[in-house]
C-alpha cells in the first residue's frame, strides 16, 4: 500500500459522531452522579452582601451549595500563560468564590449541586443574593482615559512593543501615507458544546472528563490550584464539540467541578449554560486599532505604525497580539507596534480563532488596499512587491509561498482584467465588488518536548498514543495516517489513542501548532519502532533479511523487504511471533526549535471575495470566496480543507455578523444566546474555493507541517471589506459591517 499521508482519508471517528456512540464529557455516566450549576453575579463591580440559601435548600434534591463562605481556598494561583507553553494555564490569574468581591458580570458567586440539572437550575434561581454595586468600567468608551501601554503580553512571554527604525521620521518623509482607525466589536467562540467537566474523586485521586483543547493543561492547572500532585490528577477527553480557543485555557469551572465533587462526596457534572458561555471562558476583546502606512511613489513601504487599544480584566495584561503579522509580512525598515490596555470589569479575554492576527491583519490588509488605490497600483502587485524573502530579523522564511498564493488565487478567482474603479458595477439593487487580502499566521515554538508511543503486537496490529486529543479538527484521523506511514503498516491495522493524561505528553493543540507537534512526535515514535523492528530482523539469523544493511530494508503493509529484491522479506508479525515477542514499543520525542530560532516563521495565504452590497440598505452579501494557502505538508487534504474553509467562513462572520457589546450601565454582555449573537446560517454561505500551494519546510518538524487552524480566517474579513470598497467606494473601519455601518459610509451614527 502506498503512503496514506496526503490522502483525503475520511474521519475515523465520523461514524461514532454521527451515530451518537461517541461519548462527550457531559455524557459520562457515573454511579451517583450529581449535577452542578454555577450562579454568576448580576453585577459587574462591587461586593456580595448576602446569600440566602433557605428557599434554594427547601427546593429539594439539593446536595450542596458553595459560596465564597465555604469554598476551599486555592493552594496557588498560577499566572496566565498560554497553554501552548505547557505550564499551568488558567484562563485568568484569578479564582472566584475566594472572597466577596465581584470584578465582572457573571463571575461565579455560588455553585449549586443537585440530583438533576433541572433541580440545580431551580435551586440556583431561588438563591437570594444581594449586592453592593459600583459603576462598571467595561468598554473602551468608559475607560479610554485610563489606558496605558502594555510592556509585555501573555504573562511576560512576549514583548508588547515592537520597534525598529524611525517610524515618525519615515512617515513625515513618506511620499504617500495612509492613516486609518478601526473599531472592532468583541467576539465570542460559541462552540456547539459549551464548557463541561465531570469530576470524580477516588480517595486522593481525581479524574476529570473535561471538554478541553488540552488534557495536560487541565491537569497542570487543576493540580496547581488544588495543590495536589500531578500524578493524582487524570484528565480524559475523547470528544469535544468545538473549542475555537474557548477551551484552550483552563477556566475556573473546571476546578470548581473538582471542588464540588469533593464537597458533596459524589461525582459531579458541571455544565456551563449557553448564556454562561458568554461570561465564563473569555472572548475576543473589543478593540480599536490604528494603522499608519508610509510608502514611496514606487509602492515600497517605508513606515508602518500599528497601534491597538483594548479592554482587559483587572487581573491580566491580556491583549491578543495584533502585530505579529504586520511587523513582517511586508518588508519595512521603520516599524512600530504597540498595545495599549484598559483594565476594566470584564473577565480576562482569551484566544479566539486566529487570535490577534485576524483583526491585526484586517487593519493592515485594508490599509494596504487603500495604499494601492492611492498609488494607482494593483493590490496584488503591491503586496508581492513588498513581501520580503526574510522576516523582521533578517532570517529567511522556513518556507514562503505568499506570492504563489496571491498569483494562484488571482488565477482561480479570475482577478486579471479587473477594473479597480470603485462604485460602478450595478446589478439591480446591488453594487458589486471584489477584493483581495494577504494572510499570514505565526508559527510559535513555545512548547516543550513532545512525546508519543508506538506499540506493535505480534499479530501485526498497532496502537499509537499521545495525550493531546481530538476536538473536531481530525487529529485522530491524520495522526493514524502519520503513524501508519512512519511504521510502514496499513491504516486499518492501526488505532490512534489520545485524550488521556496517562498517555505520553503532547501539548494542547492550540495556536495552529497541533498538527506540527503531534505529527512530529508520532512520526518519530513510528520510525523509532520501525528501526527497532528492522534491526531485530537483520540481526536475526532466522530472518530472510539477516545481515542486510538496515538502510536496504523497506517496509510496506507491515512487511519488511529488501529494496533490491522485494521477494526477500517477512512481516513484522512473523518476526515477533518467531522471537516470542508479544509486543514491541517505542517512545518518540520531538524537541521543537527554540522560540528565537533563526528562521522566519509564518504560514502564508491569500484571500479573495466578491460581494453584493444593497446600495440603499447597506446589507452586504458575499457571493464567492477563494482562499489559497501554503501550510507546508498537508497530512489530509479533506481535513485541512475543512479547517481552512471553517476559518474563511468565520472570517465572513466576523466581517458581517459577529459582534457583542457590553451594556454600559450594568456591565453585562448585551447578547448571550445564539438567537441574538449572530453567526452565519447556511443561506449566508457562498461558493467557497480552497486550494493549496505546495511548499517544503524542514524547520517546522520532520514532516514539514505548518498549521491550518487559524490562517484560513486571517485576511478573509479584509478581502470582504476591500470588496465592499470596490463595490461602494466606502472604506469600512468597523466590524461587523452591519447595514448601518455600510449605509453611513464606514462609521456609525
Amino acid at each position: 500500500m502506498s503512503p496514506v499521508v496526503g490522502k483525503p482519508v475520511n474521519r475515523v471517528d465520523g461514524p461514532d459522531k454521527v451515530t451518537g456512540a461517541g461519548r462527550y464529557c457531559g455524557e459520562i455516566v457515573l454511579p451517583g452522579l450529581a449535577y452542578g450549576l454555577i450562579v454568576g453575579s448580576s453585577i459587574a463591580n462591587g461586593r456580595v452582601l448576602s446569600i440566602d440559601e433557605t428557599a434554594a435548600r427547601a427546593a429539594g434534591g439539593v446536595y450542596g451549595i458553595m459560596t465564597h463562605q465555604n469554598t476551599p481556598k486555592i493552594a496557588n494561583q498560577p499566572h496566565l500563560i498560554p497553554s501552548l507553553a505547557g505550564q499551568p494555564a488558567p484562563g485568568e490569574s484569578f479564582f472566584p468564590m475566594q472572597d466577596d468581591v465581584v470584578h465582572y458580570w457573571g463571575q461565579p458567586v455560588a455553585l449549586v449541586v443537585a440530583d438533576s440539572l433541572e433541580g440545580a437550575a431551580h435551586a440556583a434561581a431561588l438563591l437570594d443574593i444581594t449586592y453592593e454595586a459600583g459603576v462598571p468600567v467595561a468598554t473602551i468608551e468608559d475607560g479610554r482615559s485610563s489606558a496605558a501601554e502594555a510592556q509585555t503580553l501573555f504573562g511576560g512571554l512576549m514583548p508588547a512593543r515592537d520597534e525598529r527604525g524611525d517610524v515618525q521620521g519615515a512617515l513625515a518623509k513618506a511620499e504617500v501615507t495612509v492613516d486609518a482607525t478601526y473599531h472592532y466589536a468583541a467576539n465570542h467562540h460559541n462552540p456547539l458544546e459549551t464548557g463541561v467537566t465531570t469530576a470524580q474523586w477516588d480517595g486522593d485521586r481525581l479524574t476529570l472528563w473535561d471538554s478541553t483543547m488540552g488534557v495536560r493543561a487541565s491537569q497542570l492547572t487543576v493540580a496547581t490550584l488544588l495543590g495536589i500532585p500531578l500524578s493524582d490528577v487524570r484528565v480524559i477527553t475523547h470528544f469535544v464539540g468545538g473549542g475555537f480557543g474557548s477551551k484552550a485555557m483552563v477556566w475556573p469551572h473546571v476546578t470548581l467541578a473538582a471542588m464540588a465533587a469533593r464537597h458533596v462526596g459524589r461525582p459531579v457534572r458541571l455544565t456551563l449554560t449557553r448564556p454562561q458561555s458568554f461570561t465564563s471562558n473569555g472572548h475576543r476583546e473589543e478593540q480599536e486599532q490604528q494603522i499608519r502606512l508610509g510608502a514611496g511613489r514606487d509602492g515600497r513601504l517605508t513606515a508602518i505604525h500599528h497601534r491597538k487599544l483594548s479592554v482587559t480584566s483587572p487581573f491580566d495584561d491580556w491583549a491578543e497580539p495584533a502585530t505579529g503579522v504586520s511587523t513582517q509580512i511586508y518588508g519595512c525598515d521603520n516599524y512600530l507596534g504597540e498595545h495599549h490596555l484598559i483594565h476594566g470589569n470584564t473577565l480576562t479575554p482569551t484566544f479566539t480563532r486566529a487570535p490577534g492576527e485576524s483583526l491585526g491583519s484586517f487593519s493592515l490588509e485594508t490599509a494596504m488596499d487603500q495604499l494601492a488605490y492611492e498609488l494607482g497600483m494593483d493590490p496584488i502587485e503591491l503586496r508581492i512587491m513588498n513581501h520580503p524573502p526574510v522576516d523582521n530579523h533578517g532570517n529567511a522564511w522556513s518556507s514562503d509561498g505568499m506570492a504563489d498564493c496571491l498569483r494562484r488565487g488571482a488565477e482561480l478567482f479570475g482577478w486579471s482584467g479587473r477594473d479597480p474603479t470603485p462604485g460602478v458595477r450595478e446589478e439591480g439593487n446591488n453594487l458589486i465588488g471584489t477584493g483581495v487580502a494577504g494572510a499570514g499566521y505565526p508559527v510559535a515554538f513555545m512548547m516543550p518536548v513532545q512525546h508519543a508511543r508506538a506499540r506493535i503486537f505480534n499479530d501485526g496490529s498497532v496502537v499509537v498514543q499521545t495525550s493531546a486529543q481530538e476536538f473536531g479538527i481530525g487529529v485522530t484521523t491524520s495522526m493514524a495516517q502519520v503513524g501508519a506511514d512512519a511504521l510502514g503498516v496499513d491504516l486499518d491495522v492501526l488505532r490512534f489513542e489520545a485524550g488521556d493524561t496517562d498517555l505520553p505528553n503532547t501539548t494542547s493543540a492550540v495556536g495552529s501548532m497541533g498538527a506540527t507537534m503531534q505529527s512530529s512526535a508520532v512520526h518519530n515514535a513510528g520510525t523509532t519502532l520501525r528501526n527497532e523492528l528492522i534491526a531485530h530482523a537483520v540481526n536475526d539469523d532466522k530472518s530472510p533479511l539477516h545481515r542486510l544493511s538496515p538502510s536496504s530494508v523497506r517496509v510496506e503493509g507491515g512487511r519488511m523487504s529488501s529494496t533490491l529484491d522485494p521477494s526477500i522479506g517477512e512481516s513484522y508479525a512473523d518476526l515477533l511471533t518467531r522471537n516470542r515477542l508479544l509486543d514491541l514499543e517505542a517512545l518518540g520525542s520531538w524537541t521543537p526549535p527554540p522560540i528565537d530560532t533563526p528562521h522566519g516563521l509564518l504560514t502564508f495565504g491569500a484571500q479573495f471575495a466578491e460581494v453584493a452590497v444593497d446600495k440603499d440598505l447597506g446589507l452586504v452579501r458575499v457571493r464567492r470566496m477563494t482562499g489559497v494557502f501554503a501550510p507546508g505538508r498537508v497530512l489530509n487534504p479533506k481535513l485541512a480543507r475543512s479547517q481552512l474553509l471553517g476559518g474563511m467562513l468565520w472570517g465572513l462572520s466576523q466581517a458581517l455578523l459577529e459582534g457583542n457589546q457590553i451594556d454600559r450601565q450594568s456591565g453585562r454582555w448585551a447578547l448571550n444566546n445564539l438567537g441574538e449573537y449572530l453567526v452565519p446560517v447556511h443561506a449566508d454561505i457562498p461558493d467557497v474555493q480552497v486550494e493549496f500551494v505546495e511548499v517544503e519546510d524542514d524547520v517546522v518538524g520532520p514532516l514539514g507541517v505548518k498549521g491550518v487552524g487559524e490562517v484560513g480566517q486571517v485576511g478573509a474579513a479584509a478581502a470582504i471589506a476591500n470588496a465592499v470598497f470596490h463595490a461602494t467606494g466606502r472604506r469600512m473601519t468597523e466590524l461587523p459591517m452591519t447595514a448601518e455601518v455600510v449605509m453611513n459610509g464606514g462609521s456609525p451614527g
Partner: protein, 327 residues
C-alpha cells in the same frame, strides 16, 4: 427550571376553566415562546394548560371569501395552505420568512399573536424592565437598543414587536376570535396589539383564561398580489430589521387606487402604515410620492443613536417595495 403542573385540556371549555380558575397559569401551545421564557425565569406560571389537543387546527372559508384560521394551526401548515398562498401570498411569505422550519412546525397561529418581545433586557429576567416588572424602569432606553422600535414607543418601553405574520394580519384587517370565562368575542386586530404607553406589561386585551380560537382574515382582493419582504443582517433565521407588507392596486391613470401597507421591526406593535396609505391613495404612484408617504409615516419616529438608521432604512425599503410593485 421551576416545577410546573402540566394539564392537557380535552376541550375548549376545560382549557378556559383551567386557566381562568388558577391565577398563575398559562396556555401552552407550541411552546416556542412559553417554554423559552419559563426557562429564562421571565414568566413563572405554576400551571401550564396544554391546548394542543383542541380541535383548532383547521383552515376554512368564511362567507365573503375570507379564511378562518384555527388558533392551533401551525405556521408551516398555514404558510403552505393553498387558499392562503392564492388569496394572501404576502401572508404566506411572512410566515415562511419567520423563525425556522422546525419552529414553524411547532409554533401555532394563536401563540404567534401572543409571542413576547425579543428585547434582551426583558429576556434576561434581571434588568429593570417595565414590561416584565411594571414600575422597575426600562434598561433599553439608554442601553443596547439597535433592534428596538422607533414608532409607537413611550418613555416606558421601546421594545419592538417581533412577529412577521402579524404584520400581514394588521394590513389585512384580520379579526381575533376568542372564548373566555365570559363567553365569546371578536377583537379587530389593530385593537388587539396594544402600544406600551404607560402600561407596557399589558400587550393585548385578553382576560386571564381567554383563549384565542381563531383568526378571521376577510376577503381582500388586492391582497392576491400582496408581498412581504424582510430585511435582516443574516439571510435567514433572524427577526426583521425592517419588513414591509404591501398590497397595492394602481388604476389606469397611474393613481394608487388601493393600498395596504404594514411594517415589521420598527414598531412596538405590528405597524399598519395608515399615514402612508392616506398620503398615497388617490395620488400618482410615483417614487416621489412613495418617498413623501414614507416620510409622513415616520414623521413622529423616536430614535436612539443605535436605532436611528432604521428610519432611513425603512423609508428606503418602503419606496423600493412600492416602486417594484408598480413596475
Amino acid at each position: 427550571m421551576r416545577p410546573v403542573t402540566f394539564f392537557r385540556a380535552g376541550s375548549i371549555d376545560e382549557a378556559v376553566a383551567a386557566v381562568s380558575g388558577h391565577p398563575d397559569s398559562a396556555f401552552l401551545a407550541g411552546g416556542t415562546t412559553e417554554i423559552d421564557l419559563l426557562r429564562l425565569n421571565v414568566v413563572q406560571p405554576t400551571l401550564l394548560v396544554d391546548v394542543n389537543d383542541l380541535p383548532l387546527t383547521y383552515l376554512e372559508d368564511i362567507d365573503d371569501g375570507g379564511v378562518r384560521i384555527g388558533a392551533m394551526a401551525r405556521m408551516s401548515d398555514v404558510a403552505r395552505a393553498q387558499r392562503i398562498v392564492e388569496r394572501y401570498p404576502g401572508m404566506s411569505q411572512a410566515l415562511l420568512l419567520g423563525a425556522s422550519e422546525q419552529l414553524r412546525n411547532m409554533a401555532s397561529m394563536g401563540g404567534n399573536m401572543c409571542q413576547r418581545t425579543r428585547c434582551a433586557y426583558f429576556r434576561d429576567g434581571q434588568s429593570p424592565c417595565n414590561k416584565r416588572e411594571p414600575g422597575s424602569g426600562c434598561a433599553a432606553l439608554t442601553g443596547v437598543n439597535r433592534g428596538h422600535a422607533v414608532l409607537g414607543t413611550s418613555d416606558h418601553c421601546i421594545a419592538s414587536h417581533p412577529s412577521d405574520v402579524a404584520v400581514a394580519l394588521v394590513a389585512l384587517d384580520a379579526v381575533i376570535r376568542t372564548i373566555g370565562p365570559d363567553g365569546t368575542r371578536t377583537i379587530p386586530i389593530e385593537s388587539f396589539f396594544l402600544p406600551p404607553d404607560d402600561t407596557p406589561s399589558v400587550e393585548h386585551p385578553l382576560a386571564h383564561g381567554e383563549l384565542i380560537v381563531a383568526i378571521d382574515v376577510p376577503a381582500v382582493p388586492v391582497a392576491r398580489t400582496s408581498r412581504y419582504v424582510k430585511h435582516r443582517d443574516r439571510v435567514s433565521y433572524e427577526f426583521a430589521l425592517v419588513s414591509v407588507f404591501s398590497a397595492m392596486r394602481v388604476d389606469d391613470a397611474g393613481n394608487v387606487a388601493e393600498l395596504r401597507l404594514a411594517l415589521g421591526g420598527v414598531g412596538t406593535v405590528p405597524w399598519r402604515a395608515h399615514r402612508a396609505e392616506e398620503a398615497l391613495i388617490g395620488r400618482p404612484a410615483t417614487p416621489e410620492n412613495f418617498a413623501a408617504a414614507a416620510d409622513a409615516e415616520f414623521a413622529d419616529a423616536r430614535t436612539t443613536p443605535m436605532n436611528a438608521f432604521k428610519v432611513t432604512f425603512a423609508k428606503r425599503a418602503i419606496v423600493r417595495e412600492l416602486s417594484e410593485v408598480t413596475s
